[in-house]
């Protein structure tokens, strides 16, 4: 079944936090900064997997995030 927007976001946040250095928490007043951070990390991930680099969470990007994989981060920790 298609995932709801919130589930998609939470999958993406979890993936980017663990593998692309997205900061874990952001205060409510820094929503804009958090969104820009998320776009940046999404771009890095899309670039790594040679996907279309948009900084947006599209279906193709989400599919890659759901694949079984190694837990070592793709960017230097």
């Amino acid at each position: 079944a298609p995932l709801a927007g919130k589930d998609r976001d939470s999958i993406a946040k979890d993936y980017l936090t663990k593998l692309y250095g997205l900061p874990k928490q952001s205060s409510p007043d820094s929503e804009k900064r958090a969104s820009s951070e998320m776009n940046q990390r999404l771009k890095e991930m899309q670039q790594f997997f040679r996907l279309k680099v948009t900084g947006k969470l599209d279906d193709e990007t989400l599919e890659v995030m759901k694949k079984p994989r190694c837990g070592v981060p793709d960017v230097a920790a």
């Binding site: 079984p68 994989r69 190694c70 837990g71 070592v72």
Partner: protein, 170 residues
């Protein structure tokens, strides 16, 4: 291919490994064989040689664990993260951990083939980072390959030989 930032590599060619525990998914002999062959993949193309120890601390400590196993990188239940390994350095360096919430297999394409997962993780244990080449063993996502005809892809051979050079016996 890519190597870890900071030039992590073993300063010696004779490395030891120890299997600390076993997954219930496979027999002890199957796990032993999968691990041995996964290390041999890298030994075939480099001067690195691996010998097994059954006690004490080995360069590459191998274990099966679930959830938070106290290394700062908790596993996440079935699917998702299958395993992880640390680049070469003292202590935790080189160690490989496998998520025992996965179903590992010996020869079958069902579940996750332990030989393939381990061969990837040992690439990290020796100093390779993830490759962006989708055909490389060091590509981050799991793909089943026929293990009877498995040959280390060229990208991985180039990567590991950039760290240790070629196998002098060939």
């Amino acid at each position: 291919y890519s190597t870890f930032q900071g030039n992590y590599k073993w300063k010696k060619h004779a490395l030891t490994y120890r299997i600390e525990n076993y997954t219930p998914d496979m027999s002890v002999a199957e796990v032993d064989d999968s691990i041995k062959r996964a290390l041999q993949v890298w030994a075939d193309v480099t001067p690195l040689r691996f010998s097994r120890v059954n006690r004490g601390t080995a360069d590459i400590m191998i274990s099966f664990a679930v959830g938070d196993h106290q290394d700062g990188y908790p596993f996440d239940g079935p699917d998702g993260f299958l395993a992880h390994a640390f680049p070469p350095f003292e202590g935790l360096g080189g160690d490989a951990h496998f998520d025992d919430d996965e179903k590992f297999s010996f020869r079958s394409p069902e579940g996750y083939n332990l030989f393939l997962v381990a061969a990837h993780e040992f690439g990290h244990s020796l100093g390779l980072d993830h490759s962006q080449d989708p055909g490389a063993l060091m590509f981050p996502t799991y793909v089943y390959r026929d293990i009877d005809t498995f040959a280390l892809p060229k990208d991985d051979v180039n990567g590991i030989q950039s760290l240790y050079g070629p196998n002098p016996d060939i």
